[in-house]
Symmetry: C2
Subunit: 183 residues, 2 copies
Amino acid sequence: MSPDGRRAKGALRRRALLEATLRVVGREGVAAVSQRAVAAEADVPPSAVLYYFPSVDSLLVTALREVNDRYCAELAAVTSLADLASHVARWATQDRDRVIAEYELWLLAARRADLRDELRRWDDAVDALAARLAPERAEVLAAALNGLYLRAATVGTTHTDAARVFDAVVVTSPSSKLGKSGH
Amino acid sequence: MSPDGRRAKGALRRRALLEATLRVVGREGVAAVSQRAVAAEADVPPSAVLYYFPSVDSLLVTALREVNDRYCAELAAVTSLADLASHVARWATQDRDRVIAEYELWLLAARRADLRDELRRWDDAVDALAARLAPERAEVLAAALNGLYLRAATVGTTHTDAARVFDAVVVTSPSSKLGKSGH
DNA sequence: GGGATTCTGGAGCGATCGCTCAGGTAGTGT
DNA sequence: ACACTACCTGAGCGATCGCTCCAGAATCCC
């Protein structure tokens, strides 16, 4: 192993560029990701972008893969429907920009054949979570989660909103919904 | 009323530009909408774009509003859950490009404050439909519809898939799902 | 016909894009 | 100190962007 100080510095800059890319996507969208915009956000010269990545596109793709990693990991760590509801509520309240950024990247993946596998990872993570939390209602839960995720990008969804929907998914009878809503 | 041939011709070109815009969005995404790209798609000179619309952006916004009109009208015409399921299935099979295009425009609206009302129209149309088809389960149905719509852009959802999810939304007991699945 | 209005479209300006490249800088091994 | 190598960067090229401008063609009103 050579603890080459040069390489270490380089790896640090590479990471800074990736995070700068995510910030730009969150703030202004995928379309705003350009060599110069990311460089300015990361406070490095524009040519550094194309030194660490073969193209601007590959930088974007790498950032997308990283976002997907984080999302899948977050879903994998969810332990219960109540836990899931609080995640959804947090997305809708604090992380709205992040949710929109993820949607933009998701849409990018939906359009490009070479990113199809990233879409699968996303879907598989959702399906696995749904199957784990509500085996008999997995399909509905997966659809509801995706739907709430979409709503989170639109308008503020509160914790009780999300919890109520998930309750309704697994409840034994719709009339029992009168039992309790606010936990 | 004056059947001015000049204005009639102009209105025709204006409409051709709008539909060309939607085709470009469907095929290559919002980012690909440029003065020259739309002009080429509509087979008019580039300067015509900025004659009929004050800016490229306003052309895009007008196209977005039109897409939203169509989507809301389509939802308003749905009569039953079975009907809704067949719509979802058709989106996923034949209209995948259109769905992706609508998502791109939806995302554009989610990011811009001046298009917030279009987002509301979208959500209201979904909520109204859900309340109409399943009054006691409106929230879940709305979330599930949004979730299926998202899945439609990803991977092929069949008619029975959608129907099964909607059945599960309104079914009285999850154990009754054993009754019939493949219909 | 004449004149006003509406539409058409080519030229081109300044800005930005992704990307290339030659040369400069800095850390490494001896 | 030295050459060596890996890392870094400013300048700039060709292409495209949104948009302006203006001269000409088409059409309606009189």
